[in-house]
């Protein structure tokens, strides 16, 4: 509704290229409706453990979004995205303990620092691509796991260093603070959903404008991008900066959501699982990132907490799903599912049509 109103009121003043077709307006209205449902209705429909899971889905969908931008839009495969999330989580927690800056600023500061680290990690991408870049970024993920283990993240105590004499991994750590307007679980869930939506909006603005076109050009061919005047170095680093910023911001959200983040939560393997689920979800579509978040966080919850199945079985499912995507549906579920639904609809229509004349004949 809101999107349609904005469109009709703006139509008289905006130049022609900003005119939205009815399909775009409808899509905007559906997205807005879904967003409002997830934001307002979901907390009253489900229990607290479900709500925590949905918050994780939102956070990991942004991590998958970063992967999608790097691989789907620019063609650079990075297997260190969950490691960047843990870096963001660690920086967010440390900044929260050490400073008293308002929470939105805390998010921005965490995003900015993670952004710098992510760009450094992305530097090899200027020379390497494909398998080599994947290996380098995976090594980074491994190094982060080791580093966080060695410094006994979070090891309580205040300040930037946060080491306390009483020892590591105590449960007596003060919780990482949440924003004053959203201290409760439901309110903070809504806070996370809003920030997630903003991150998706940020990504959308990028892929739909000049950087998105430049990235598509680099993905197609670097020589052709250079010949088109694209500063390949700048745009590659820009992609890493954007992906790392978004991942850092949700890393800070994760720190405040779990309240006492633990190094053990972040395994190197998680970066690989994220890449697999992102590919299954679909790396060319923003929807794919949400599907990836659901696969990454909701399915383990369903398997383990709801159905009592060992969640390691999921790895087999992810493997099979990845194989299916690579073989038959390179666009992932985000592109395949609507096609399958359209095919199903056509089959149903055909079935009904073939039934109708015989029914008439019978009568």
């Amino acid at each position: 509704m809101g999107a349609a109103d904005a469109q009709s009121s703006g139509a008289t003043t905006l130049p022609a290229r900003f005119h939205l077709g009815p399909a775009t307006a409808l899509r905007g209205a559906i997205i807005l409706g879904l967003f409002l449902f997830v934001l307002l209705a979901v907390p009253s429909l489900v229990g607290p453990d479900w709500l925590t899971t949905f918050a994780s889905v939102a956070i990991y969908s942004v991590v998958a979004l970063g992967f999608d931008i790097l691989y789907g839009r620019v063609g650079m495969i990075s297997l260190g995205q969950v490691a960047l999330l843990s870096v963001g989580c660690w920086i967010g927690a440390r900044l929260a303990y050490a400073t008293a800056i308002p929470f939105p600023l805390l998010l921005l500061a965490t995003g900015a620092i993670t952004c710098v680290i992510g760009v450094l990690v992305g530097l090899p991408s200027l020379r390497l691509s494909g398998l080599y870049l994947a290996l380098i970024t995976l090594m980074f993920a491994g190094a982060v796991t080791v580093a966080l283990g060695v410094i006994d993240f979070p090891n309580g105590g205040g300040g930037f260093e946060g080491t306390s004499a009483t020892g590591a991994l105590t449960t007596s750590n003060p919780p990482v603070r949440r924003p004053a307007i959203a201290t409760g679980d439901t309110a903070f869930y809504r806070y996370i959903v809003v920030v997630t939506a903003l991150m998706f909006l940020l990504a959308l603005v990028h892929v739909a404008t000049k950087p998105g076109r430049a990235w598509a050009s680099i993905r197609e061919s670097e020589p052709a991008a250079l010949a088109a005047g694209v500063h390949v170095t700048v745009y590659k680093m820009w992609a890493f900066a954007l992906a790392s910023f978004m991942t850092g911001v949700v890393g800070c959200l994760l720190a405040a959501q779990v309240e006492t983040p633990r190094a053990i939560t972040f395994q190197t393997q998680a970066s690989l699982t994220l890449a697999a689920t992102a590919l299954i979800g679909g790396i060319f579509s923003l929807w794919g990132a949400i599907v990836a978040g659901i696969f990454n966080q909701l399915l383990p919850f369903l398997f383990q907490a709801q159905w009592g199945v060992n969640s390691n079985f999921l790895l087999i499912i992810f493997g099979a799903g990845l194989l299916q995507v690579l073989l038959t549906a390179p666009g992932g579920l985000a592109q395949q599912f609507p096609k399958d639904m359209a095919n199903l609809g056509r089959l149903v229509v055909r079935g009904v049509r073939s039934l109708l004349p015989s029914a008439e004949r019978a009568s």
């Binding site: 022609a16 076109r213 020589p223 250079l226 010949a227 005047g229 500063h231 060319f284």
Partner: protein, 238 residues
């Protein structure tokens, strides 16, 4: 005017361009030669992908070799490649607009310039259509539109007609002939289709084994016996 003096390119042991000196005066110029003669390498030097071992290139009085590769587009260099480089995931409009937005041309004129380029090449498909859904002919026209948008000064076309049927080559030929007067850009055409080269180009240079073996008015060059020998070979060569 493009003035090339003593241009030499060496790749470990091979010399694909060997002391080439050639002047392209203006309009549409042809660059022909057998496979492996060094035509695409010459384009790659102009684009900045290949650093020459020696020689100078002066383009409209400016030293082209001193310019960083990605800055040459802003200067006015455009090129097509032998393989298609139009981006399938983007619309026709976006494909052409992305060249415009890195060309230094004014943002306010982008829409008009892009649509003008599409009209110039005679593309009738809707600008919003994705390039992935176009046929070979339309994709080729998108490539040419990308090469002429945003104040080009030097347009390099690398086998633009390869694989096109005759009537579509004819349409393309008309488009290429009109580039210099419509955009004021010097156009260099590399192609194996001699009827396309002779109908488009007033001047033609012939490369063989990295050396210029003929240069002059196209009709004369195509009658030159060295050129015929380079293309057809001689009894001794066989």
């Amino acid at each position: 005017m493009i003035e090339v003096r003593g241009l030499t390119v060496r790749f470990s042991g091979i010399t694909p361009i060997d002391d080439v000196s050639v002047v392209f005066p203006g309009g549409t110029c042809g660059l022909i030669g057998p496979n492996g003669a060094g035509k695409t390498t010459f384009f790659n030097v102009l684009s900045g992908f290949v650093k020459p071992a020696a020689g100078t290139i002066s383009a409209f009085g400016e030293n082209l070799l001193k310019m960083a590769d990605f800055r040459r587009a802003r200067w006015g260099l455009r090129r097509t490649f032998q393989t298609e480089m139009a981006i399938e995931q983007l619309s026709i409009y976006d494909n052409v607009a992305m060249i415009h937005e890195h060309s230094g041309a004014k943002r306010a004129s982008r829409r008009a310039d892009v649509l003008a380029a599409l009209e110039f090449v005679g593309l009738t498909a809707p600008p919003k259509a994705k390039v992935g859904g176009l046929n070979a002919r339309e994709r080729r026209l998108v490539e040419v539109a990308r090469a002429v948008v945003g104040r080009p000064r030097l347009v390099l076309l690398d086998e633009p007609a390869a694989g096109l049927p005759d009537e579509e080559t004819e349409h393309l030929s008309g488009v290429i002939q009109r580039i210099p007067e419509a955009f004021g850009a010097l156009t260099i055409l590399v192609d194996h289709d001699m009827s396309l080269v002779s109908s488009c180009c007033s001047t033609t240079a012939v490369l063989d084994f990295g050396k210029v073996i003929a240069l002059g008015p196209t009709a004369e060059v195509l009658r030159n016996e060295h050129v015929i020998r380079a293309y057809l070979g001689t009894e001794e060569d066989v």
